[in-house]
Subunit: 414 residues, 2 copies
Amino acid sequence: MTAPLGNSRDQALQDRARHVIPNGMWGHMATRAITPGYPQFFSRADGCRVWDADGNGYIDFMCAWGPNVLGYHHPEVDAAALRQLQVVDSGNGPTETLVELAETLTPTLAHADWCLFQKNGTDATTACVTIARAGTGRRKVIMAKGAYHGAVPWCSPSVIGVTTEDRAHLITFDWGDTASLDAAVAQAGDDLAAIILTAFRHDVGRDQEMPTRDFLTAARTHCDRTGAMLICDDVRAGFRLDVRGSWAVHGVKPDLAAYSKAIANGWPLAAIAGADRAREGAEKIFTTGSFWYGAAAMAAGLATVRILRDTDALAHTEAMGNRFRKGLDEAAARHGYRLRQTGPVQMPMVLVDGDQDLRIGNALCLAALRHGVYLHPKHNMFLCAAHTAADIDRAVEGVDRAFADIAAAGVVPA
Amino acid sequence: MTAPLGNSRDQALQDRARHVIPNGMWGHMATRAITPGYPQFFSRADGCRVWDADGNGYIDFMCAWGPNVLGYHHPEVDAAALRQLQVVDSGNGPTETLVELAETLTPTLAHADWCLFQKNGTDATTACVTIARAGTGRRKVIMAKGAYHGAVPWCSPSVIGVTTEDRAHLITFDWGDTASLDAAVAQAGDDLAAIILTAFRHDVGRDQEMPTRDFLTAARTHCDRTGAMLICDDVRAGFRLDVRGSWAVHGVKPDLAAYSKAIANGWPLAAIAGADRAREGAEKIFTTGSFWYGAAAMAAGLATVRILRDTDALAHTEAMGNRFRKGLDEAAARHGYRLRQTGPVQMPMVLVDGDQDLRIGNALCLAALRHGVYLHPKHNMFLCAAHTAADIDRAVEGVDRAFADIAAAGVVPA
C-alpha cells in the first residue's frame, strides 16, 4: 500500500478550526461526513485538478460539488467576470448584464419565458415554492421522500431546529412512482400549489434513477389538470447535462426551474427560470438578497451559458463520463469487484456491489486519494469539460491501483 | 429647474427587461418601489460614486444598500480577493482563509466565540433561528413588528405566497417597548427559543430608533432567565457602526449575531458569530450552500474587517455623517423645510417634517438626482469611508439646489 499522504498542514488547520467553528466545519463540505482521512482544506484548483492544503494534487471528480463545469479558472469565464468587477459588481442596482443574461437564458432553456436571480440554490427552490403558492393561492407542495431541495427548515434533510409547522403543507411520495404521485395529488385535493422534483433521483448513498418520460408526463398532467405548478429542481444537474434544461431531452416542460451550481462555473449565482404560466406568481412575491444583483457573477454566468450553448463542452464531458464509467468497471473487474454505476455519466454515482456499510467504498476512495484521484464514496460525483481523455485514463489507473490496495488489504464483500 | 437627466439607455434596458424579468425588476433594487424617475440600471461605481446606465454620475448615499463600507473598488480588499481567485475560490472545501477569518472575527466581535459563513443576510438570520431552536429544544421566536429580517417565508415583509404555518411560532412585540417585550415573553411561556432584534430600529419610512441600554438589558435578562437565545440581526448595521458589533457600545452581548452587507465591502458574504452558549445548537443543525465556502469573498471579508479594526475608517465615516446631517439641516432651513434625521449618522433616515405621503421627499430626491446626489426618500441611507469632506460639501450643495427646485415648484408641506 502506498504511504499515506502528508496531511500535517490540514491537521493543523483542523485543530485551529475546531476552536472558532462549530464541529470544526459545517455543511456538505465537512469531510467527517465522508469518511475520516479526507483532506478538509484546499490550497489550489485548476482545470480538473485540486490541491489540498498540504499540496497533494488530485484529478478531481467532485468539481466543487457541482459548480465547476468548464474547468476551474476557465479563462473566458473569469475574464468576463473580472472585466465586470473592474467597473461595478454590487451597486445601487443591476447592470445591463442582468438583462443580457435573462435574454440569453430564456431562449436557451426549453421552458423559459423569464428569469430571476439569486445566490444559493436554496434561494431559488424556496422562491419557486413561494411563487407557486402566490400564483395558485394554494398551499400544498408535493416532493419526493429523501430528495434534497436545500438546507432551510421547509426542506432541510435534518429536522433538528425545524418545527412541524415548517413542513405542514408538504406531502411526500416515492420518486419515480406514478401511483405514489397520484396518491399524493389526491391527498392535496384542491389545495395543490406545486410538485417539485429534482431533475433526476440523486439522493445520497443510493443508486441514482433517471426519470421516465411517463413519470414526468404524469407530473405535468397533474399540474395541467389542477392548475398547480411543476417545479424542476435543476440546481445540481442544470447546465451540466443539457443547456436546454435537464428535462428537455424528455420533452417535458416545467413551469418553474431552479438553477445554481454550474450556471456560472463557480461564481456564486442562482436562477429561477419560469414559463409565462408562472409569471403572475413571480410578480406578486417579494424575494431579494443583498448580493443578488451583483454583476460579476452574472457576467460569469453569461459567459458560461454561451460556452455551453455554442461549444461541444457538454458532449465532451459526456464522452469523458462514458470513458470513466467503462474504465472503472474494467478496473473493478480486474480486482474481483463489481460496481453499481448509476445516473448520468457526467454525474456518476459509483457504489461497490455488496458493500452494505460503505466499508469497501470508503477504503477504495481513501486509497484513490493516495493515488491522486479525488472521488466520493456515497454522493454523486461530477465531471467537467476540462477532463481530457488522458486525465480520465490517468484517474482510472489510479483507481485501479486503489482496487489493488484494498484487495491486498482484504477489503472485499462479506 | 435643471433639465432632466438623460435616461434613454435606462429606459431601453427597462423595456427589454420587462419581457424577460417579472415586473421588469424584483426585490429591494426595483426602483418602482422608490418613486418613478430613478435610474434602474448602473454602469460603474468607484469610491463613493455611482454612474447610471446613461453615464450620469452621483455622489452615492446608498452604498449598494449597505455593502459598500470602505468605498467601491477598495484596492486592498479587491487585491486580496483577486489574489485568492487566482488560486482557488470554490473548490472541494474551504481554504486557510476560512480559519483566518473566523480567528479574526471572534476576538474582534465583543460576544463571539465561533463563526459560520453564508452568502445572504437571510441565510444568517434563518440559521440563527434554527440554531436557537436546536440548542433550546423550543419553538417560539419573538421579533419586533415591522422589523426586516430577510425575505423568506418565516420573516418576509410580504405574506403573499407565505402560509400561516410559516409563522406559527413567531410572536411580535413593539420595538423598544420593554412592557411589550415582557408580554411577548410571557406568551411564549416555557417554549421560548429566541428573541431576534435588529441592531437598532431601521424600518422603512419611519423615524429610526436607537435601542436603550435598558431595552437591550431587558431582552438579555429574559434570555438569561429562560435559557432562550438573544439574536442580534446586525446584517444591515454590522461593520458600519462598530467593528465590535453594533451592541458593543451598549454593553449587551447577544448569543448569536447575523452579519452580511458590509462584511466584505461588496463581495458576497454573510456570517453568524456566536457565543459558546449557542455552540451546541450550531453543532446540531445542518446548514449549507454551494458557494458558502468560496475563498474569494472570505479573503475580501478578512481584508475588510482588518481595515475596519486597524484604521479610523469608521470614525471618519461617522464624522462625515455628522457633517452631512448638519449640512442637510441647514440646507433644509434655508428653503423653509425641516428635516427629521434619525438613527446613526452613518445610516441616516432623512424624512421631511410634515410630509405625510412622501410627496416632498420623493420630489426632493428626484431633484437631488439631477444635481448629482443619489439619496433615498424612505429607506435608511448609508455612508462609507470613501466619502470625503469635499464629497459631503458637494452633496449638501446639490441637495441645497434640490430644495430650491422643489420650493420654486411649490412642493411644500400642506
